[in-house]
Symmetry: C3
């Protein structure tokens, strides 16, 4: 599972659509608004962001991360990768939809 956040809903939608269209992810979910607090260049700031959660197979993760980084408007985007388990039928569906 790969997740990112971005401060514009259309960009979040675009990241989700492109990843599925190009078979880098089998599905992508854009969640509701989140309110982020963070430190940037020494100052504590806040921003409204949208989370995007991508489901893919291990051998597509690095291509998906590279694509998100290339399309993301931030200099240093938050792109997190975590391993999850699922049942064989769902794993097969993800594999089928992330390979031609």
């Amino acid at each position: 599972m790969v997740t990112t956040v971005v401060d514009a809903r259309p960009v979040a939608d675009g990241l989700a659509a492109a990843s599925v269209a190009d078979r880098l992810a089998a599905c992508a979910q854009v969640g509701g608004q989140v309110d982020s607090t963070y430190r940037w260049r020494g100052e504590v700031e806040t921003a409204t962001e949208w989370s995007v959660q991508f489901k893919t197979v291990p051998d597509r993760v690095s291509e998906l991360v590279d694509r998100i980084r290339a399309d993301h408007p931030y200099d240093v985007p938050e792109i997190l990768v975590s391993r999850v388990e699922c049942d064989p039928a769902y794993a097969a569906w993800v594999r089928e939809n992330t390979h031609v």
Copy 2:
């Protein structure tokens, strides 16, 4: 932690309530609406879904997953399992509420 998504809020609520009532999970959280993009039978589609996040102990995971799959309306539901750490007091609370 076990998570799923489903395209009907009442079904999400039902999955959450049943898991806690039957001590398969100590708690379950239905999140806000997510907008999903996915490929189904070769076509890229979108749907509105709700996420459900269940907290349980390792020895109840497979029963919980089986129950979610049995109650879920999809042929191939997304049911993801990830391991999280927590402090002993919370772990004891989860164990207490997932065993009779």
Copy 3:
């Protein structure tokens, strides 16, 4: 990544702000409302809660967890720790903002 839930939005905002101000987390995201079902003292109850997700480095996790527990209004708060991977640039940003 550390996550918690709490039943008051101002408390969620406070947990997020304090963690970043005190460099226990590089960023914290308060998500939308979640509807929780749980068992408390034998009864199944429901509550509206807000999730807070903190991003930090491994060597700051226990201090962050202790701080959340100290500031959290619950007797036994849900504070979950999960390991995620990210790219070196983001990891450096998190490290820089969780150390003086």
